[in-house]
């Protein structure tokens, strides 16, 4: 993005600040929803972290991934830092992928979220249940893990729409030069 005046710079700074405040408000809201009730719930923080990663720079994505991961650890009673490491890696990878080879489209976001959520759920099942060799442990995979993954993928649709709305109003628009426009065409 080209910044042409100090006024544009101020607007950019203001919009970016507000955007990140909204992002973190949505993250905390997702955390609260995840910790309420006794039913199976989607791991909302995974699609939220990925949605932020597909739109933002590497560093912001990594930090947000770590923060969301820590919140997942608290909500799901996992080893503090376990999901933080996972989500940091995933968010960096997703941010890079969208920067280098993927376009910001709904379908791309959905398959990436489905894949990451599945890996996260599968690793959770592997390390927290299967590794301890409980009898009938596969029931947890079919009755809990897969359900949670499915709910997470479904919730990603709504999360994408919410973030699209936030970005529509608060994401700074790129100014292209005539040469860049000609090149893009």
């Amino acid at each position: 993005m080209r910044i042409r005046s100090s006024r544009e710079r101020r607007i950019l700074r203001f919009k970016t600040t507000i955007r990140w405040i909204v992002y973190y408000f949505l993250i905390l809201l997702s955390f609260v929803l995840m910790t309420s009730g006794t039913w199976l719930k989607p791991v909302l923080l995974v699609p939220v972290a990925l949605c932020i990663a597909v739109n933002n720079d590497l560093l912001g994505s990594a930090f947000t991934g770590a923060f969301c991961g820590l919140l997942i650890d608290i909500a799901c009673g996992r080893l503090f830092g376990y999901n933080a490491v996972l989500l940091t890696v995933f968010c960096v990878a997703v941010s890079l992928a969208f920067e280098l080879c993927l376009r910001y489209k709904f379908i791309n976001y959905m398959w990436v979220t489905a894949l990451v959520a599945f890996i996260q759920c599968w690793l959770d099942y592997k390390f927290y249940y299967q590794i301890w060799n409980y009898s009938d442990v596969e029931r947890i995979f079919s009755r809990v893990t897969l359900h949670v993954w499915l709910y997470t993928v479904i919730s990603a649709v709504f999360i994408f729409l919410i973030f699209k709305l936030v970005n529509h109003f608060l994401m700074p628009k790129a100014h292209l030069t005539i040469e860049e426009v000609i090149k893009t065409c």
């Binding site: 910790t35 006794t38 909500a75 799901c76 009673g77 301890w132 029931r139 809990v144």
Partner: protein, 300 residues
């Protein structure tokens, strides 16, 4: 005047007055019931009087409203404020009543087991997301004297054990979890003992499982299982659950029973933590150390 007194009109008037006095005396003798004439008049004029009265009341009411509108408005505002205050008091009263009910239950624990040192009632902050064994967080932690591996109970029965204690929040592993094993004995026979340990299958129904039960057991459905207190991790003689069904293990070497916990673990509001009791394992001797697979503590 003399002429009037002698006249027929005067005599008629006098007779009429006498008649009225007669009616009056008659009415007095009726003992509260209306005389037939009055009754007739009342009945005949009732609908008219009703309509007339309604109309006049309406008019009076409108006039009264117009005349005293300011006064009524003020009175209305006062009453609204009063209702608000009373509703607030009612809500506080309900909260207090609920709290007292909860405390009363926990007082019973202290009365029945004077050797227990119990924490203040702890509220359940929330269940661990998507945990099939219903672990949950409580709003009391190390600041309130809670340590890891303290038994968590309600007045009805044992719930689980604290596993992850921070300053003001603790995580409780429930008796539905396969990671928690409790040596228990039947309260009726005091001979049939085994290990209560959760399983994936029983946890789906909010139940746990009694294993290592002798094939010659005398347990019946409905029997109460209590802690045997062998390991010092749980106090002796605390209710765990009742026998729901009985069966023989697939290997045929021992029997098992499905146990319904005394408290509904999926719907807990508050619990207490037993921080000390007679026969407790001294600090540092956590049973989990003996079995690395059961980090929540085994009572074998």
């Amino acid at each position: 005047m003399r002429e009037f007194l002698k006249s027929t009109r005067f005599k008629i008037l006098l007779a009429f007055v006498a008649f009225l006095i007669g009616i009056m005396i008659y009415a007095v003798t009726k003992g509260g019931y209306a005389v037939s004439g009055a009754s007739f008049i009342n009945t005949a004029t009732k609908p008219f009087r009703f309509v007339s009265n309604s109309v006049s009341m309406k008019i009076e009411s409108i006039a009264d409203k117009l005349h005293n509108a300011d006064q009524y408005y003020e009175e209305n505002q006062k009453l609204k404020a009063q209702i608000g205050e009373l509703n607030k008091q009612l809500t506080e009263y309900d909260d207090l009543k609920e709290e007292v009910e909860e405390l009363r239950k926990f007082v019973v624990i202290k009365e029945q087991h004077p050797d227990y040192i119990i924490s203040q009632p702890a509220s359940v902050l929330g269940y661990i997301a998507n945990d099939p064994f219903k672990s949950f967080n409580i709003d009391k932690g190390s600041a309130e004297g809670i340590e890891p591996y303290c038994p968590v109970v309600t007045a009805e029965g044992l719930i689980g054990i604290t596993i992850d204690v921070s300053e003001h929040v603790s995580t409780v592993r429930t008796i539905l979890s396969p990671d928690l094993s409790i040596a228990s004995v039947s309260s009726s026979t005091n001979a049939d003992n085994g290990i209560i340990e959760g399983s994936v299958l029983t946890a789906e129904n909010g139940c746990t499982k009694l294993t290592h039960l002798s094939l010659e057991h005398a347990l019946r459905v409905g029997d109460l299982m209590i802690t045997s207190g062998n390991s010092g991790l749980f106090p002796k003689g605390y209710a765990v659950g009742t026998v729901k069904s009985l069966g023989v293990e697939a290997n045929g070497l021992s029997a098992y029973a499905e146990i319904t916990p005394c408290s509904d673990i999926t719907r807990l509001g508050s619990v207490v933590v037993i921080t000390d009791f007679s026969g407790k394992t001294p600090d540092g001797e956590v049973p989990s150390a003996a079995d690395p697979e059961k980090e929540g503590g085994n009572e074998n």
